[in-house]
């Protein structure tokens, strides 16, 4: 029997949980069809998340392609179908990607080794200046800081996931929640996650409370790493500080918990626990257009 899970019409980090909830009740080898026929929009987190779901399945899942030409065409321009073709049995008409999408700062790109991080940084650097400075009105130095944040989040996959993941960067107008343009980085993997990574540290002290939420707090807020080397663990903690400077949002989900650094314009909660379990780590960085107050 095949279980059908409907992809929400608007797929972002919040609505992605609507997929993970029923998914968590399936065995890894159960047959699965993700029905995206009525999807109208997807964030980079949503698209990279779908690819990550496929990586967790022992039986190749199916994906019903969006029926809307506009939506399917956009997903094609983000390179989603190029990667999905290897991971899913695609049902429906898959459009070819012929034109560049100006809002796609970095199309969906696999990250496995450190050479991939170099390639991502080089690609983004070429387009970032125009988008961050001209469209989001950030200062010129922000381009370097943004690229640095991107490098550090991608390295989280290389250093800790123990399997490949995905990165994508897009800009769009976030009319409903913010009324401004935003640039969004999504980095998703289906690896071992923060908790297992920290548990592998030699001589790690045991505490009464130890769960996915605490692992996220240790890694992101206190810069704890699985390595003994005291210079490790600064990446995500450093990114968090950068994001705060731009009034941006940093959110990371791992296992059953999600930790967010919440700016004033957002109503998210800092720590959400008891979420449906999902392997690996899923990171989203949101940087809004600067407005002069």
């Amino acid at each position: 029997m095949t279980t059908v899970i409907t992809v929400p019409p608007s797929l972002d980090d919040a609505t992605f949980e609507q997929i993970l909830d029923p998914l968590s009740r399936l065995a890894p080898d159960d047959k699965l069809l993700l029905d995206a026929r009525h999807a109208r929009w997807a964030s980079p987190y949503g698209l990279t998340g779908l690819l990550t779901i496929a990586q967790t399945r022992l039986t190749k899942p199916s994906l019903a392609v969006p029926e809307s030409d506009e939506t399917a065409s956009y997903w094609a321009r983000t390179a989603f179908f190029r990667h999905a073709a290897d991971l899913f049995d695609l049902k429906g008409s898959v459009p070819r990607s012929r034109q560049n999408e100006s809002s796609v700062l970095l199309e969906i790109t696999p990250v496995v080794g450190s050479e991939d991080v170099h390639a991502v940084v080089d690609k983004v650097q070429q387009k970032a200046q125009a988008i961050l400075v001209n469209e989001l009105k950030l200062d010129a130095a922000a381009t370097m800081r943004f690229t640095m944040a991107l490098s550090e989040t991608c390295q989280n996959i290389v250093e800790h996931a123990q399997r490949g993941g995905w990165v994508a960067v897009q800009t769009y107008r976030w009319q409903k929640r913010l009324g401004r343009r935003v640039v969004v980085i999504a980095v998703c993997d289906a690896g071992i996650g923060f908790r297992a990574s920290l548990e592998s540290a030699p001589g790690r002290p045991r505490s009464d409370r130890w769960d996915d939420g605490m692992a996220l707090e240790e890694a992101v807020m206190r810069g704890v790493s699985r390595f003994r080397d005291s210079g490790r663990g600064q990446g995500l903690a450093g990114v968090r500080r950068f994001i705060a400077k731009w009034d941006g949002k940093f959110a990371v989900r791992s296992g059953t918990a999600r930790l967010a650094i919440v700016p004033t314009w957002d109503e998210d909660v800092p720590l959400t626990e008891n979420l449906p379990p999902f392997p690996g780590a899923q990171i989203q960085v949101t940087i809004p257009e600067r407005v002069d107050r």
Binding site: H118, Q125, T147, E152, V158, Q234, G235
Partner: protein
């Protein structure tokens, strides 16, 4: 007069890692660049100060700042007890990353020569 040698980090990056790389990102890259610089320092006579020049480096992330600056300084202090390396050509972005990683090791950058915009790392 103090003897100096100059190491251009951008050249080291291309020679030690890849001709096509222009940014100091990822820990393996930082390890390779530091290993190359350390080999140069081992063959340097006592009393020579090495100027490590970042002026042609684009971006440097925390991992590379830790490997190339913090670990190099720690290793030099262990070996010689005195700083033999000076960092120059650092942009505001480089300095931010270096400040973060040095703080973790109980060190900070201080100005070495204002006219050459160079810095040395010292313990707090």
């Amino acid at each position: 007069m103090m003897m100096k040698q100059h190491i251009d980090v951008s050249d080291v990056l291309r020679q030690a890692v890849s001709e096509s790389y222009s940014h100091l990102v990822t820990r393996p890259t930082g390890v390779a660049v530091r290993a190359y610089i350390e080999a140069r320092l081992r063959s340097t006579e006592d009393g020579v100060v090495t100027v490590i020049d970042f002026s042609r480096v684009g971006m440097m992330d925390f991992s590379c700042a830790d490997e190339i600056v913090a670990k190099l300084v720690l290793q030099q202090q262990e070996l010689t007890g005195t700083p033999r390396v000076v960092f120059s050509g650092l942009s505001e972005i480089h300095l931010e990353a270096i400040d973060v990683v040095l703080e973790r090791h109980g060190m900070s950058l201080v100005s070495h020569e204002a006219d050459t915009n160079s810095y040395v790392a010292v313990a707090h």
